[in-house]
């Protein structure tokens, strides 16, 4: 992982085993708070139903059926929203004093955050599988090969991992869970809607199109459409529109490269 170099002179505290212990902790919690996963899935299913049945008739997609077009957008949206769950989880740990306990332990400094992001990937993989099964039920199909499918699944998890680092950073900055919730939704909501997740980009006003084209949610959605063989109408001539897979990978690397060091630095900072 990033930024896990041990400080000089430290003793004990294996980064790998500490990270695994924290990952274990975060995975163990998931079935103990089933509401979290259940509502994450219900929320996405609700979006599927809303868009597929309410707006579906009004949105025309070149070369294919709308539901098949929609599902990758729902996947991307769900993973973007998962960063809000991460934010809230970290804020909650801070508010309850749990972060102080971890910080007082002779453990690797990055493990508390890295463990969380790894557990998040596993959690999001589970959510994604459930959503894909619901997608199959409303007519979504995987039309290309197994390799492409796995690539699409992998890129979705890479995106989830990157979003999780954003979440652990923001989670340390906000004072309370309520504020964390507000911040996360205020940012994530418009980002998922200013994208190609639900509507083709041509339908957006011209001045918004460049933003929507480069939006990581758009590139991820387009990447999944491409890899799953779902309808993917042309969306401009920018690099982001023409190379969505590559662009998504670049976005994820950039996000991790920025937010992982920031998050770890913030965690280690004892000036406040």
């Amino acid at each position: 992982m990033t930024a896990t170099a041990p400080p000089p002179g430290r003793t004990g505290g294996s980064t790998v085993s500490d990270t695994l212990v924290v990952t274990w902790r975060n995975l163990k919690r998931i079935p103990r708070i089933p509401e979290l996963a259940v509502f994450a899935i219900l929320q996405s299913v609700m979006f599927v139903l809303l868009f597929a049945f309410v707006f579906g008739g009004a949105i025309a997609v070149e070369g294919g059926n709308y539901r098949e077009y929609l599902m990758p957008g729902i996947f991307a949206q769900t993973l973007a929203f998962a960063s809000a769950t991460t934010t809230i989880g970290i804020t909650d740990d801070m508010q309850k004093g749990l972060v102080d306990r971890f910080r007082s332990l002779p453990m690797a400094r990055s493990a508390f955050l890295t463990g969380r992001t790894i557990a998040d990937v596993a959690y999001n993989a589970g959510i994604l599988i459930v959503l894909m099964l619901s997608g199959l039920a409303v007519g979504w199909r995987v039309r290309d090969g197994v390799v492409e499918f796995l690539a699409g699944f992998g890129i979705a998890l890479l995106f989830a991992y990157a979003m999780s680092w954003v979440g652990v950073f923001v989670g340390q900055l906000v004072p309370t869970v309520e504020v964390g919730q507000q911040v996360a939704f205020t940012v994530v909501f418009p980002i998922t809607f200013l994208s190609n997740a639900f509507v083709p980009l041509e339908s957006l006003p011209g001045w918004l199109q460049p933003f929507a084209e480069w939006n990581p949610v758009s590139t991820l959605t387009a990447a999944m459409r491409e890899l799953f063989g779902n309808p993917s109408p042309p969306a401009g001539s920018s690099f982001a529109a023409e190379q969505p897979v590559l662009m998504t990978v670049i976005w994820c690397v950039v996000f991790v490269a920025i937010f992982a060091p920031l998050a770890v630095r913030r965690y280690r900072d004892t000036s406040k």
Binding site: G12, R101, S104
Partner: protein, 334 residues
């Protein structure tokens, strides 16, 4: 060598244009194998002191050594030798007690089997064995605090920080915690304990350091501190509120110290250098003046009196929240 030495610690917080001097040149020494009680009202700087000494917070200036390690430079090495139990029960509510302890044991770098064994010992010691496989969410406040304390002990720390270990607990759980802490003290642990309960410091600590506005303003054993405010006091409770003024005047004439009046309980207190003789005199004069009494007696000064005479304000008054319409009688047991 002392277990803790702190010199001139300062810490200033600035938020929304308000500057708070949480620590304002705090000096502190704690000898190995002793219990130091850091006593002070809310906002005096107790928690900030603990956070600095437990490596969670870097002081703006000054330096501190704990068990021979500099709290800033050797923080990671120091963390292996200390345990911290805070104001909140800092355990994972969605894990069981056994899982929490195993996890913290692993993070203290114990091998998995050792962590499990140590967890079992602590669960037994803290009477949590029967509940060890229940998620902590279902625990009572007292059980959570005990688990929190057990978590701080999992790595067999040489020094333990207890930040207000009984704040918010009901009296029964509070005395339960006292027993647990006394047991630790018997095993020779070095302990720094913060509290805003005067009787708690009296009951648990060898040495008490009184903190006010980020500084230590007095230090000594409970007896030394009590003798600092003089000897016995005469205490009377008048039957009728309208007699308070008259009684105050009588007491003021009889003793040289200041008379404190609690209008709510109609209780008046004043230093009584003359002992029993003075008490008899007070009763006689009040009887002549026709002031009926509900209670009268001599008592040794409490730590509350210590706080009042050291700071010029009552312990409760210094609290950050100015909304005290009810005079809180905390620690007023004599």
């Amino acid at each position: 060598m002392p277990a803790i030495t702190a010199e001139g610690l300062t810490k200033v917080y600035g938020s929304r244009g308000q500057v708070v001097r949480a620590l304002d040149g705090l000096d502190l020494t704690v000898e190995e194998g002793t219990v130091l009680g850091l006593l002070g009202p809310n906002g005096a700087g107790k928690t900030t002191t603990v956070r600095v000494l437990a490596t969670l917070l870097r002081p703006d200036s000054g330096r501190a050594t704990v068990l021979g390690h500099d709290v800033v430079k050797d923080a990671q090495r120091l963390r292996q030798e200390i345990g911290l139990s805070g104001q909140y029960a800092a355990v994972d509510e969605n894990l069981t007690a056994a899982e929490n302890l195993w996890m913290f044991g692993r993070l203290y770098q114990l091998p998995s089997a050792t962590a499990r064994q140590r967890a079992d010992e602590l669960l037994e010691q803290f009477a949590l064995t029967d509940a060890k496989d229940r998620v902590v969410k279902t625990y009572s406040g007292g059980m959570r605090r005990r688990l929190d304390l057990a978590s701080a002990l999992i790595g067999r720390p040489r020094l333990l920080f207890l930040d207000e270990p009984t704040t918010g607990l009901d009296p029964r759980s509070r005395f339960g915690m006292w027993e647990v802490i006394r047991e630790l003290v018997r095993t020779g642990a070095t302990l720094l304990l913060t509290t805003q309960y005067l009787e708690e410091a009296d009951a648990l600590a060898d040495v008490i350091a009184v903190v006010d506005r980020g500084k230590i303003i007095a230090r000594g054993t409970a007896d030394q501190l009590k003798s600092q405010v003089g000897g016995e006091r005469v205490e009377i409770v008048v039957r009728r509120p309208e007699d308070l003024a008259a009684a105050r005047e009588v007491l003021g004439r009889q003793s040289r110290g200041e008379v404190t009046v609690d209008e709510h309980t109609r209780r008046l207190t004043a230093p009584a250098e003359g002992g029993t003789q003075q008490l008899v005199e007070v009763i006689r004069v009040l009887a002549e003046a026709g002031v009926p009494l509900d209670d009268v007696g001599l008592r040794r000064p409490t730590l509350d009196d210590v706080f009042l005479s050291l700071t010029g304000h009552a312990a409760e008054d210094a609290a950050a929240t100015p909304t005290t319409d009810e005079p809180a009688p905390a620690g007023r047991t004599s």
